[in-house]
């Protein structure tokens, strides 16, 4: 399966001699590298250059010229620091929630259903089934469900969990909920892939060696599925941190829930303040690179399995 490639670790890759095979591999890599150069590297450089622009001295409002204007960064930090913090908080919360929901689900599919491959296939299909419907439509549907007139809020008010004036949409909760919901499959699939290859005899050995179910889980199951947990967390964290749909006013967000993505969208599309928008994008990217760097370091030093 395609996602196995992401979860399984580098150690499994066959050792290759850097001779003829290496050259063939390089040749096969060329189209990909070219693609990256044109569609990733070039825009990235353009983005960084834009982020250093300053307003044109003799131009109209909204005209910028190339410069080395580092002040843009300081400005956006000052103006949107709260949004940055909120983005980190929301995406981290969504990652944790997706892990807490996704791990048991992945475990159930990979281990409990192992003896029934048909059910296993069906369950996996259900996990990716939401992708058959547009991301925007699904999020809109949740807006309806969670809306002030919707069934969920009505029920929660009926059973007195929430007071009468309370809302669900436009809150921290609904945004985190939306992020969790939308990115859950990215958590489940890599964890599933690493649990699918878990040798259950190892759990028997651990139980035989005086470990109860809890300690077997923490000492054997979790370490052996760590590659999946890490991949899944990154796959949720990264898009969630940059997301601008869930938190927007048109969807599950409110006036006080805007994330960096929403700010960038506004700056780029509405205000036309390209340098600040670019500076914020670069900051967001740098922030996302931190956990990725940890991941790379981890897979380097810790030769998993």
């Amino acid at each position: 399966m395609a996602f196995t490639a992401f979860a399984s670790d580098t150690a499994l890759a066959p050792q290759q001699e850097p001779t003829k095979r290496g050259r063939v591999a390089l040749l096969l890599l060329l189209p990909g590298l070219a693609y990256l150069a044109v569609f990733f590297l070039a825009p990235l450089i353009s983005l960084i250059l834009t982020s250093l622009q300053r307003p044109a001295e003799f131009g109209d409002f909204g005209q910028y010229e190339y410069a080395f204007n580092v002040d843009n960064y300081a400005d956006v930090f000052g103006a949107y620091g709260g949004h940055i913090v909120r983005s980190i908080a929301y995406s981290s919360a969504a990652t944790v929630a997706a892990l807490l929901l996704g791990y048991p689900l992945a475990y159930f599919i990979a281990v409990t259903l192992r003896r029934w491959p048909v059910w296993q296939g069906l369950a996996l299909t259900l996990v990716i089934a939401p992708f058959f419907i547009s991301f925007l439509l699904r999020t809109l549907a949740w807006k309806q469900i969670l809306s002030d007139e919707g069934p969920v809020l009505g029920f929660l008010q009926l059973v007195q969990v929430l007071p009468d004036g309370a809302r669900l949409t436009g809150t921290d909760f609904s945004v985190i909920f939306g992020l969790t919901y939308n990115f859950l499959p990215f958590m489940v699939l890599p964890i599933y892939a690493s649990l699918a290859s878990l040798d259950l005899r190892l759990l028997e050995a651990s139980r035989d060696l005086y470990a109860n179910a809890w300690s077997s889980f923490w000492r054997v199951t979790v370490p052996l599925s760590l590659p999946g947990i890490i991949s899944g967390s990154l796959l949720v964290l990264i898009p969630a941190a940059g997301d601008y749909v869930n938190a927007s006013l048109d969807f599950l967000g409110g006036t006080g829930t805007a994330m960096v993505g929403n700010v960038i969208e506004t700056l780029f599309i509405e205000t036309g303040n390209y340098p600040e928008a670019s500076a914020l994008s670069v900051i967001l990217m740098a922030l996302i690179l931190v956990p990725v760097a940890f991941y790379v370091l981890f897979t380097r030093t810790e030769d998993l399995i």
């Binding site: 040798d199 005899r201 190892l202 028997e204 050995a205 651990s206 139980r207 035989d208 060696l209 005086y210 470990a211 109860n212 300690s215 000492r219 054997v220 370490p223 052996l224 030769d303 998993l304 399995i305």
Partner: protein
């Protein structure tokens, strides 16, 4: 944690009472009763798929019996979880934790029980299997035999009251295997632990164990001291699983308090009544190949059974002994092991011979060997050495 908190001071006895294990569509263990005294070395022998591993898994708690009870040291553990039982297993598949180093693997059980000097003990156990120099490696960096020794160390280090060994030496070369056998035996006797050892190697079972049980199709066919099992097998299966046997089936002619006589190949053959399980009707008796003597002339001796004349169809020399295959009309092919002594006739292929054995070396079986007498004439192809179709 309810884990047994200490290494065992001594072994515990094991008792299986009426254990049955039914898998969906397959009954792996059938009404098994077994009692292993504390501190003994018990070997379980049997063909592949007969239920040895399943028996060990039931005892370890990794499988639940369909019915029956399991008692360890007198207390009923049938409902206990594997981690609560004072049992450790050396798994047939090793099941080493791939994400831990060898040292971490070996200290796993000790740590779970809160043993404080786990590192010292683990290193000690690794020394025992001569792998202390590889303590920092991961299992994937070891050879198959080394992994097997780690599995052994990982279980032995806990000094469980009952140690289950599922073919723990199968991947080792002969020299290392003999050495590990000695080590195991030493540990077992020093601490007085109870060992339940599953093996395919008969010699291993015979030399190491106090008691050997031969298992077949989910049942224990026979159980006893190695010598007893060898000298007096009770069933055709045991007679041929443990070493080789020549089996003859015939009608009982006479049964007295001392002897059972039956007709084999037109001759009267006698077994001591004490060594025979059946006294009437069709009876199968047997004799070990090394108990047979070959004669070039028809002997007339007392106290022996005689068969023949037969033709030597195959001779294979194997150093200390020679194996003869003798076709006797009306009886079948008989294997004879003969020591290569200083004296003694050299018997060649095609020679006409008679066979004799002392009456007290014969044994009478509980069951009938499923064979038809094989009528060999001179034209038939010589049998392959060691393959005796009609003796099975």
């Amino acid at each position: 944690m309810a884990a047994p908190s200490k290494p065992a001071e001594s072994g515990a006895d094991l008792e299986l009472v009426g254990i049955t294990k039914q898998f969906p569509g397959y009954r792996a263990i059938e009404e098994l009763d077994l009692s292993i005294p504390a501190g003994s070395f018990f070997a379980l022998l049997g063909p592949s798929g007969c239920g040895k591993t399943t028996t060990l898994r039931l005892i370890a708690g990794l499988e639940e019996p369909t019915s029956g009870r399991i008692l360890i040291g007198g207390s009923d553990v049938t409902g206990q979880k594997p981690h609560e039982r004072p049992v450790n297993t050396v798994f047939q598949s090793y099941a080493l934790f791939p994400h831990m180093t060898i040292l971490e693997n070996v200290s796993f059980g000790l740590k779970r029980r809160g043993v404080s000097d786990y590192k010292v003990k683990a290193i000690e156990a690794l020394k025992l299997v001569e792998l202390d120099h590889l303590a920092g490696r991961k299992p994937s960096q070891l050879s198959g035999g080394q992994q097997q020794r780690v599995a052994l160390a990982r279980a032995v280090v806990n000094r469980p009251a009952l140690l289950l060994l599922d073919e723990p030496l199968g991947a080792l070369d002969l020299k290392l295997r003999r050495q590990m056998q000695l080590e195991l035996k030493t540990i077992q006797t020093e601490v007085g632990l109870t060992f339940l050892h599953v093996t395919h190697d008969q010699e291993e079972a015979m030399t190491m164990a106090d008691t050997v049980a031969v298992m077949n199709r989910g049942r224990i066919e026979q159980l006893g001291a190695p010598q007893e099992l060898y000298e007096l097998p009770r069933t055709a299966f045991v007679a041929n699983f443990l070493g080789q046997s020549n089996l003859f089936t015939g009608e009982v002619l006479e049964a007295t308090d001392a002897l059972i006589a039956l007709e084999v190949g037109g001759r009267r053959v006698v077994v001591p009544a004490a060594r025979a399980a059946r006294r009437s009707g069709q009876v199968t008796i047997g004799v070990r190949p090394e108990k047979l003597l070959l004669h070039l002339e028809e002997p007339s001796l007392d106290g022996v059974n005689t068969l023949g004349p037969g033709r030597v169809v195959d001779v294979s020399f194997s150093g200390v002994s020679t194996q003869y295959l003798v076709a006797v009309p009306g009886v079948g092919q008989i294997i004879v092991f003969s020591q290569n002594l200083v004296h003694g006739a050299v018997i060649n292929r095609g020679a006409t011979v008679w066979l004799t054995w002392s009456i007290e070396h014969g044994f009478g079986l509980e069951d009938i060997a499923e064979t038809r007498p094989h009528f060999d004439d001179e034209a038939s192809a010589p049998g392959l050495p060691g393959v005796v179709a009609e003796a099975v």
